[in-house]
Symmetry: D2
Subunit: 338 residues, 4 copies
């Protein structure tokens, strides 16, 4: 950490700050500039008192971190990309993995129908929500356990592994029983007790970025799961909140190359939630792959105008098939299969 | 809802949209402009299929809501301000209620000491975190149940009611046993299962705005609690995330008059988290009261530079006492006591 | 426009609103719902009094626009994509146009050297700043007219047309004399007098999105130029300001498919400013093309660590050549040449 | 500046970075931590090569500034608050200065009428726009020179000094002739040629914050004017752009105490543009004064529902008079007159 002192601070005060740094277990190095005095505090920061606390001192102007605060998620700990295996499917490193299916599981017929169609078009994972986090208490909240059973049946019929969201700790067991990847939704990105418990569940986890989560905070949330002993974490960019209202969120594809630099974890892009509008999904799916994503997650519904959630951003199956064609070509152009 | 059709849509297509609106249980009214045709769909929207779904149709350009989606929280259902009673303290309508105390409960001595001092300065509720939502898994996570006991002891000693955060459903009972107001933190604003369960706990709830939660979404989260049968909901503005980095968050005081127009629920302002810096807390506390807030929640610590969390934004007890003096004068200027 | 009245408004008040709408030259249609009364005001809105003004009435809750406020930029006026011709180069519709060169023109040698190298790698337009908008008055402000001459010389030597920024009205003539495309920078996106005058200059204009400009406002700024009689407008997405600090700005590629839906104007993407970091430029250049952009603008400098501006986001010439290889393959994958 | 090197950088590379720092005119100090090596570069940064350039090196992870980049605007150069004198009115330090009047000058009668009324209510400066920056080219663009004459007439009649916006360099002279304070609007905050020229005009300047301008950038824009030899700069907070749409912008009152810490320049708050809605203006005006602002600027119109611009955020004269009553009481509560 670098501690910047206020202008005009005397030697005695500098000495006090250094003493406090030493007490906190770090080695202080004073650098005197023409206008500002700065103290560098050297030492491992993780698991030790947080030096940003020194901002509470009246003599300190600000404290700037030097190290990234996450460790297990970092490239320093693991330099080669992680691969998360779900049966025959591997996310990370190799081919682009496309996860597709309805936003919500609405009926047995719906999910079996969509599963067969997305498989035929080339998807390798089935998505579908049984527990749904809805902004309004008056909206459809999901089929819950019944929905999980339909997903499991679709898995048996198609052989596609299943990803579905888990919203609370006491449902982890039942969700894990019927699915292959546990999804943590954007709204639970900093639900730390859920993160901790999902880290102990022994299943791969896909962690969606929150709508106002910085990349650093996102990796710290991943760190909760990794520190719980679960190395199988997939990150999913799904759009951040900005001032622009032409799209539902602003899909932040910049996060893809940034993550590739900072972490070894695989990265999936969700152009359905990211844009909120079916007309923009294909373009942003292709862009995500070109930016270096390891996978895509896409909402497909046979009748979007009758969907119980997120119809406006769902693709009809034939549009999804067309998207797959184009995604395959873009993947090849960046030396990836799809 | 107003459904705006794409340009150049023929009569047959307009007819189809109207039929779909009728099927969904609304009455369609077509308005033909020079460039655009618009269909107004009339009918109660809450608990009925969501007309925004029509955006999934290729003939529809966009769908615009006319009604606010929340009901129990709205001024339409209750025109006079709600008052939330916690023993002898009432939040809403009357005097400004100041909640103060340490960010985290760190020891018995610390919390008893701070409790006595904030009471002496004029606070009427004691705050303190026992379960702490921390961005990093390596940071101090709170004293948990032990912390709750110290809070309860401070309550007995001072007579101040206690507010503390609850982070997961299976801790609601123990938190409710030791405290008077259950706080839902910013990171759980859309943890809908927690909202639902806290709605059934029979204790007043203070719901902090999430860092990227719109006012409408915030009121929908309040609606989860209200719809669960708990009318005692207090809203707390604590800063939103913007591009500005000079403050930790951007305390959005505009939310105060907006909420006063939209809802009957009382509104509290948190200038400590909102600014993240002790030097700005007094100014923004006064501003919050001048904007019309019903209360303040402020972090006070005897030694901020040794705090286990949020030291940089904590006030020393004597600064808090000075703040109270000034807040009282501003409250009087807007015809409120404090 | 749709005018939403406050709840509980009586017939007399509705009548007054309708009278006012009629006075403003529109035809009012009243729709009475269970909770809300809404008035649709029918008529061409451009060049007429702005109905949003009715929000000033105490009986009106809000006013919602139905039409897009821009006209000449819209798909309604021109359904096929516009093509902007600069000598032998055409932006829009056909091959991807890559504009490349240094952020600032720093010397004759520098610009001639870079021009030759970006041409060899496949760029078809030379970029370079002679007048530089700098956040700090103490930073290098550009070589001004001298820089323009070097650009013109590089154009003669390489045959590449030149794009450069114009920052004030009384420099339009001299900039136009030495260049082929006038660039309006992000900071001048709502400098309406400059937009108007550049619209009269008879040269193609590239209009960069401002860092907090909505897509609708951006198209209204384009409308100023189009309304001035200049149809040759190119839009350039260069990143918006969000809470994320891992990149300098957040390059908003979602804008590409949104613009393709709303306007006929060609769209160029600037991954250099958009990310602010050379390591992310190639990924986002490829993503921009995959998203459907008509061109790219990229900063190239022979010694980025000695650049007088924006070194951290500049590519060395050999990295730019590698980027061109990859961009060509992605372009082919989406049926475009590059 | 602090230069953070990438992990695993060898001594030879550290040496190269230090050499480069020395060449740029700074003294390097190397600090070796367990994981990271950091180099502090000591020396005055203003007017010297920008060390952030070192981010272009492949061995450098990031560069962090230690000094604030502005100088003349800083508290280091001037520790006591600046006072800007406009005839008998002084902005800064003493009483709260209220500037009020119509958004646009629409007619001689309108401006004379409003001027008399705001003066009667206690305003001490008259505002009114003659040149109007309008998002749409089809909107009313102001009465221009004719409007200036009406303002000057209102000044003669009431004795109130006049503030009005100047949008382009070649109008500075005529605007300065008819007014007392030149306003730079939010959209021209980084129109650096205009800033430079207005700095030479010899009149006080009020500089509005741009809608996505950080406080640091805002002060750098002020620095352009100060460095041009004009010490009479007033800052005006008028709302920033965020995700929240319940208000037109998000008035950022946090900027008030932040500015009071960083700069000696006076600060004015604009609750009319900041909220965009007349119902919120009084609350936010009071909050601005409580936060420590030196003044307010407020839009007043005799018939807001017929205003040619910004009617929805304009107060009727009697509401403005009521606001003044309340503002006076809040000012007294924070030991200021109004």
């Amino acid at each position: 950490m670098i501690i910047i002192l206020k202008s005009g601070i005397g030697d005695g005060e500098v000495e006090k700050v250094c003493r406090r740094i030493t007490e906190m277990g770090y080695a202080p190095h004073v650098i005197r500039g023409e206008f500002k005095t700065v103290v560098a505090a050297v030492g491992e920061e993780r698991g030790r008192p947080d030096l940003r606390l020194l901002e509470a001192l009246e003599t300190v102007e600000s404290v700037m971190p030097v190290q990234q605060p996450f460790k297990l998620a970092s490239r320093e700990v693991r330099q080669t990309p992680s691969e998360v295996r779900i049966g025959a499917v591997t996310v990370g490193g190799g081919p682009i993995v496309v996860m597709a299916g309805p936003c919500s599981v609405e009926s047995r017929e719906q999910v079996l129908d969509v599963a067969a169609r997305v498989k035929a078009a080339g998807a390798s994972v089935l998505r579908g929500g049984a527990f749904k986090p809805r902004t309004s208490p008056y909206a459809f909240q999901g089929l819950e356990e019944e929905g999980l059973k339909y997903l499991a049946e679709a898995r048996r019929e198609t052989g596609l592994p299943v990803i579905t969201e888990v919203m609370e700790s006491d449902k982890i067991a039942v969700v894990a029983e019927h699915s292959d990847i546990l999804q943590i939704g954007a709204r639970n990105i900093q639900n730390f007790s859920l993160l901790r418990k999902v880290g102990e569940a022994g299943k791969p986890v896909m962690l969606k970025r929150g709508m106002s989560t910085s990349i650093q905070e996102w990796l710290l949330s991943a760190e909760y799961i990794l520190a719980g002993g679960n190395p199988n974490v997939i990150l999913c960019e799904r759009g951040i909140r900005t001032f622009e209202t032409a799209t539902r969120f602003t899909l932040d594809l910049n996060a893809v190359p940034v993550l590739k630099r900072l972490t070894h974890l695989p990265v999936v892009v969700d152009p359905s939630h990211g844009t909120g509008h079916w007309e923009y999904v294909e373009a942003m799916a292709c862009a995500g792959v070109a930016a270096g994503a390891d996978g895509l997650i896409i909402e497909v519904h046979p009748k979007p105008e009758e969907a119980l959630s997120d119809g406006p951003q769902s693709l009809k199956p034939d549009r999804f098939a067309a998207l797959m064609q184009r995604v395959r070509r873009v993947a090849a152009a960046v030396d990836r299969e799809a």
